[in-house]
Structures are given as structure tokens and as C-alpha cells.
């Protein structure tokens, strides 16, 4: 099988779920004729009809809120939020309804809702189009939060997310939409982290867009004689602590990488868990290479602002100095 882009992999994955389950519906802004601004839903309306793949009015709270009602009626909605920065009008429906309805109903109601969010920067976009809001959702009980880093995971994870009976916030690294890759023949568990590069000296944990960057860093570090292990977190909530801790117990050093602002980001939670569960294994403090605690900068500055191979290597050097 020839390699395909992540956008195409997501499209194929969504197609599979639409084929196998008539209750699956795809809704959002411009997901119909246009096929989404990133073409992830390209052709789905044509093939599955306007009643299963449709454009909504322009209101995110309405998109999520009606998805909740559709779920109560027995549907399995897949909502697209056009860009990361536009999920906030739907935040109330997500944290107070989607996340809590199953609990509120003592398990009587299920919320099999998938909320797809293209996230992260690096595409030279204007404000609100490059954000990384995953920590908000990871901190919200009742939600599951995942992010794919390659076409194969995109293909399998989107299907697993749609089939899941729990709500899943599905973060798609928009700057990797056009990255090509082969599809694995079989899926990997949705909420398990994966060691994508074994190594001895330092563990690097990343997810979504930063996995490629982490792997590039590992390659560069190899030239300098440092053997980095790279873990693709894949699931942000629940978080596969065991895999990370096991790795750190071998390497003794951990660097966490994400685009989101460093403070109160996912890296903080990983550091907190690792320093607790691998206390005696850590030879250096867990370091974080993340976005700064500033709004996402104008695009002319994003390459400086975003975690990069050089910034990761810089952190690797610092952790090795301990």
C-alpha cells in the first residue's frame, strides 16, 4: 500500500465509521461541500448524504450542544471545530454537558461524541489558528483526550475515537496534515503511549506535531553521541504513565515537549507523576521544552517561539549536565 497524507488517513478512517454505523454523523462548519478547510471530510457529504454529513450554523456552542442532543437520541456525532482557537465558544457545552452527562445520569446516558480539533502552529496563520488547548480538556474529568502524530495513528485512532462510547477530544496536528506515511495493518490501543524510538540516555515525551520534531532531535543528538528515547504519548487523558515511568527508570532523564504554554500544561502533569513514581530513578529534574507563557505570537515569530530541534537539544544537554 502506498503512503498517504494524514488528512487522507483521517478521511479514510471517518469513511470507515460512516460505512459501518448508520448512527455516525459528521457535523461542523464547512465540512460538507467544501470538505472542511483542511479537506479532512472531503467527499463524505457526497457519498453519505446531507443528512449524515452536514454544515451547521456558525456557532460552536450550538455544534456541541446539538451533538449532545443527537447523542441522547442515539446518534454518534463527530463534530469538527474548524480551528483550535474556536473551540472556546463551545467550552461550556463540552465541560459541563459532554463531559458530565454520563456521570449525571448514573451511567444511563452515553456521550459517544468525537470532537475533532486541528491544533498547533507552524502554518503561518493569523491569531487563534495555532493554539494548543489540550490541557484545558485533559484537566476536565469525563473527557478523553488524544492526539495523533502520523497517518497510521490518524487512520486507526479516529476510528477508535468514533467507536468509543465516551466523549473523545481528538487533536489533529494541522501542520502534519500533509505528512505522508504507510498505514499499519492493525490498530494500537487508543490510550497507550508508544516508544517510537528506543534509546538509552534521555527520554523525550511528545505528542501530536512535536513527535516528528522529537524524532528529528533524536537523530541530531545521535550525531553528538546521545541516544534519545522518544515516546509518542498519543493519549493525553488518560495518560499512559506506566510507559513513561518505565522508560525514565532506564534513562534517568526526561524532557517533555509540547507547543502549549509551559505553565499548567501537560508537561507539568507528566513531571509531577514521574517525579513521584520514578523518584529514585531520576538523575536530573524533568525538563520541559514548551511554548512560552505568552499568547501565540504573530506568525513571523512562530518558528522562534515554537519548540524546535535546537531547543530540545539544548534541554537534552542541560539534563545531561546533572
Amino acid at each position: 500500500m502506498s503512503p498517504i497524507t494524514m488528512a487522507k488517513a483521517l478521511n479514510d478512517g471517518l469513511r470507515k465509521t460512516l460505512e459501518e454505523d448508520p448512527k455516525v454523523i459528521v457535523m461542523g462548519e464547512d465540512v460538507g461541500k467544501l470538505g472542511g478547510v483542511f479537506r479532512v471530510t472531503d467527499g463524505l457529504q457526497k457519498d453519505f448524504g446531507e443528512s449524515r454529513v452536514f454544515d451547521t450554523p456558525l456557532a460552536e456552542s450550538g455544534i456541541i450542544g446539538t451533538a449532545v442532543g443527537l447523542a441522547i437520541r442515539g446518534y454518534r456525532p463527530v463534530c469538527e471545530i474548524q480551528f483550535d482557537g474556536f473551540v472556546y465558544p463551545g467550552f461550556d457545552q463540552i465541560v459541563s454537558q459532554v463531559a458530565k452527562m454520563h456521570n449525571r445520569s448514573n451511567g444511563n446516558l452515553k456521550m459517544p461524541i468525537t470532537i475533532r480539533i486541528p491544533f498547533g502552529g507552524g502554518i503561518g496563520a493569523v491569531e487563534h489558528h495555532s493554539e494548543s488547548p489540550e490541557a484545558y480538556f485533559a484537566h476536565t474529568a469525563g473527557l478523553k483526550v488524544v492526539s495523533c502524530s502520523n497517518p497510521s495513528d490518524a487512520y486507526w485512532m479516529i476510528q477508535q475515537a468514533v467507536r468509543a462510547d465516551d466523549p473523545v477530544i481528538f487533536f489533529e496536528p494541522k501542520r502534519r496534515y500533509w505528512t505522508k506515511g504507510e498505514l499499519d495493518p492493525t490498530p494500537y490501543p487508543l490510550h497507550k503511549a508508544r516508544i517510537v524510538r528506543p534509546g538509552r540516555d534521555v527520554t523525550i515525551v511528545a505528542y501530536g506535531p512535536m513527535v516528528v520534531t522529537a524524532l528529528e532531535s533524536a537523530a541530531a543528538a545521535a550525531d553528538e553521541g546521545h541516544d534519545l528515547e522518544v515516546i509518542d504519548l498519543r493519549s493525553i487523558s488518560p495518560l499512559d504513565t506506566a510507559t513513561v515511568v518505565e522508560s525514565v527508570q532506564r534513562t534517568g532523564r526526561l524532557v517533555v515537549v509540547h507547543e502549549a504554554a509551559v505553565s499548567h500544561g501537560v508537561g507539568a502533569e507528566i513531571a509531577a507523576r514521574v517525579q513521584e513514581k520514578a523518584f529514585y530513578s531520576l538523575e536530573a529534574p524533568v525538563l520541559r521544552v514548551c511554548g512560552f507563557d505568552t499568547p501565540y505570537p504573530p506568525s513571523r515569530l512562530e518558528e522562534d517561539w515554537l519548540p524546535s530541534v535546537d531547543r530540545i537539544l539544548d534541554a537534552v544537554d542541560r539534563t545531561l549536565e546533572y
Binding site: P57, S61, G62, G69, I72, D165
Partner: protein, 387 residues
């Protein structure tokens, strides 16, 4: 010269007075006067027997009894809170009885009367207010959704449910056992929320089989309705391209007739509509509110004259020759219901501490299992101490 409001809100205050007019407005549908006289309305003919009206009377009395018992239980510390529907029984019973079994209702936290009409055991409603659960019932059991506390949120759920109804082909087939409508409740204050207006957008644009039932009880906690709008709320619908109508919310017959027609239209594919039930919240907002801080007793007095139950009783006695034995039988039923609620409430079990982990997700994640086990060990350590 200046026509601007000296103080912002003075404008609003005038409007408020208008809206508080207790005399039925010309545009308000009323089928039973406060004095108990039936009046006909060209658009809303109501073909109803005196037996049916007796049965509505029974609903009204029992619903009010549920409310007063719950208030008493709250006073005794058996409930943490209660949101009283006193004064709104007519609106709720009329709307509730207009529903067909397969229609779906989306309540706020005050629709105890609608719950009753959906055959929801009053005890089911108490868990949330007692703090033994967060609602916990299955909406599918009685086609009555969970109470929603976040103002307005349920109106979008109702619109989404209606989208599902359309996709299921359960609109406009002409088959009375198939065609389905959705009834979404909200208050005058909720009319300001983005969610409620977005729900109107969806309903209008998609011609959804949904009826919005707004109980304008004149107050959103301490905010009079004029804080939310300068014109009657039923007119909001015109901004979204569907019909709106104001009814005497203390007239169970008007509520029944108008909601029936609106639901029938929705089921037959004629789309959404908005009903504003003009009524009054006779009690404070909840048992923790003190309404003497913001409204006058006089207002209460005028509304007492419009009581939704008294007018039905007046009709039954004066025009339907209903005798004391009927009212006595209802009173006996009311006593039995009260006893059911009192004993049932006290019997509601406290949940087990570890149950907080049960329904976070459809299955327990490793993370939560770890937290639960740790908590279990911690709790056990005390039992050991105890032993």
C-alpha cells in the same frame, strides 16, 4: 432635548412595569378566566370534557403538594435545596399533558409538574436536591430528560434531539405513533443566553420539530424580566422566523390547547414555535433565596388572585356540578402522595464514597482505578482504627 435614559435601565424600568401588567394583554391566549369562566379562542378551540378537566385539577393539586412537601423536607434538612414551582402549576400541567408518550421533554430544574405528567415518581426528582445523586434517572424511561442547571444548555440538547428525530424520519409521516415532537423548557432569564438563541437559529434554519416553552415567571432570581428584554418574550421567535404566542401561564386549559397545537404542528413538519407562558414565581427563587430583598408583597397579592388551581376548582364547582366528595378524594390522594414523598425521601440511600469513580467514563480507566484503590485503602485505614 434628551430622550436618553438618565440612568441606564430607567427605560428598562418602564418596560418592566408594562411587562408586569397583571391584566391579561390583548395578545395573550386565555381559555379559563381567574374567575373560572371558560372563554373560547378562535385559533385554539379546546374540545375537552369535564372529566378531563377534573383530571387536570387532580394533577394541579398533586403537583402543588409535591412542591410543598419538598419545601417542608428542605426545612427539616432532608433536602439541601428546592426550586419551587408554586404558581406555575397551570403552565406545566397544561404543557405536560399536551405531550404524547413518544415526544421528548427537556426540562430546567423547576419542571416538577411536567415530570409528574411524564409519570416520573417525585422521589426520582429528590436525589438531586438531597445531594444523593446528580439526577441519575434515565431520560428514555419517561422521555423526560435530566434536569439541567446550566441556564439554557438544554435548549441546544433539545434542538439536537429534534435533529435526530428528523433523521429518524419521525416527522410528518402522518402516523400518530411515529411523528415526534420535542418540548424544550426555559425561563425568562434564560432567554438572554447565547445557547437559547443559538437553539432558535438551529430550529429556524433546519425547520426542527421543536416547541419552546418559556415560563416567564417575571423573575430570574432577583432580576425582573425587563432586565432581559424590552418587549414580550414570545416575540423573540419572529427574529428567527417562526411563530411565537403568549398564553396566560396560570390557565391550564390555555397551556394545554396551545401546546397541543404547537406540538401537532411540529410533528407534522411545520416546524418550531415558541410559547411564552405569562405566569409568576410565587415563592423565592429557591429555598435559599430571600425575595423580600427585591420584590414587593403587593405584586404577590395581585398574582394570588390569578391562582391556577382556584380557577379550575371554581369552574368545576360552578359549571360542572362537581361535588365535595371529588375534592375530598383528591385531598386523600394528596395525603397519600405526601406520605410517599416524606418516607421515600428519608429512605433515599446515601451513595458509597467509592461510587464517585463509577460513571466518570463507561469503563474505569487505569488512572481512576489507581485513585479509587488508593482512596479505598485510605478509607479502610479508618475502619481498622475503628475496629
Amino acid at each position: 432635548m434628551s430622550v436618553a435614559p438618565a440612568v441606564p435601565g430607567s427605560e428598562a424600568r418602564e418596560a418592566r412595569d408594562a411587562l408586569h401588567a397583571v391584566h391579561p394583554e390583548p395578545d395573550m391566549v386565555q381559555l379559563l378566566t381567574p374567575e373560572g369562566a371558560r372563554v373560547a379562542h378562535p385559533d385554539y378551540p379546546l374540545d375537552i370534557s369535564d372529566d378531563e378537566i377534573r383530571s387536570l385539577y387532580r394533577d394541579l393539586v398533586l403537583v402543588r403538594r409535591i412542591d410543598s412537601e419538598a419545601i417542608a423536607l428542605q426545612r427539616q434538612g432532608e433536602l439541601g435545596l428546592w426550586a419551587s414551582l408554586l404558581g406555575q402549576e397551570g403552565a406545566q400541567v397544561g404543557a405536560g399533558r399536551a405531550l404524547r408518550p413518544h415526544d421528548m421533554a427537556f426540562p430546567t430544574y423547576r419542571e416538577h409538574g411536567v415530570a409528574w405528567c411524564r409519570n416520573v415518581d417525585p422521589l426520582t426528582l429528590l436525589g438531586l436536591y438531597r445531594g444523593t445523586n446528580l439526577g441519575g434517572w434515565n431520560p428514555a424511561d419517561n422521555n423526560f430528560n435530566l434536569y439541567t442547571i446550566v441556564i439554557g444548555a438544554q435548549t441546544l440538547h433539545a434542538a439536537g434531539y429534534a435533529m435526530g428525530v428528523v433523521r429518524d424520519g419521525a416527522v410528518g409521516t402522518g402516523d400518530p405513533n411515529r411523528d415526534t415532537a420535542v418540548l424544550a423548557f426555559f425561563g425568562d432569564g434564560a432567554s438572554s443566553q447565547g445557547d437559547v438563541n443559538e437553539s432558535f437559529v438551529w430550529a429556524g434554519a433546519d425547520n426542527l420539530p421543536i416547541v419552546y416553552f418559556c415560563q416567564n415567571n417575571q423573575w430570574a432570581i432577583s432580576a425582573p424580566v425587563a432586565t432581559q428584554t424590552r418587549q414580550p418574550l414570545y416575540r423573540r421567535a419572529s427574529g428567527f422566523g417562526f411563530p411565537g404566542v403568549r398564553i396566560d401561564g396560570n390557565d391550564v386549559l390555555a397551556s394545554l390547547a396551545v401546546t397541543r397545537k404547537a406540538l401537532a404542528d411540529a410533528r407534522s413538519g411545520q416546524g418550531p414555535s415558541l410559547i411564552e407562558a405569562f405566569t409568576y414565581r410565587m415563592n423565592p427563587h429557591t429555598t435559599s433565596d430571600d425575595s423580600t430583598r427585591y420584590r414587593l408583597g403587593a405584586e404577590l397579592e395581585t398574582w394570588k388572585l390569578k391562582d391556577p388551581i382556584a380557577r379550575v376548582r371554581a369552574y368545576l364547582t360552578r359549571h360542572a356540578q362537581v361535588g365535595p366528595e371529588f375534592f375530598e378524594s383528591i385531598d386523600r390522594e394528596s395525603e397519600a402522595l405526601a406520605e410517599h414523598i416524606r418516607s421515600g425521601c428519608r429512605a433515599l440511600p446515601d451513595p458509597a464514597p467509592l461510587s464517585v469513580f463509577d460513571h466518570v467514563h463507561t469503563e474505569l480507566t487505569d488512572e481512576l482505578r489507581e485513585q479509587r484503590d488508593g482512596f479505598a485503602t485510605y478509607l479502610a485505614s479508618f475502619e481498622e482504627l475503628g475496629a
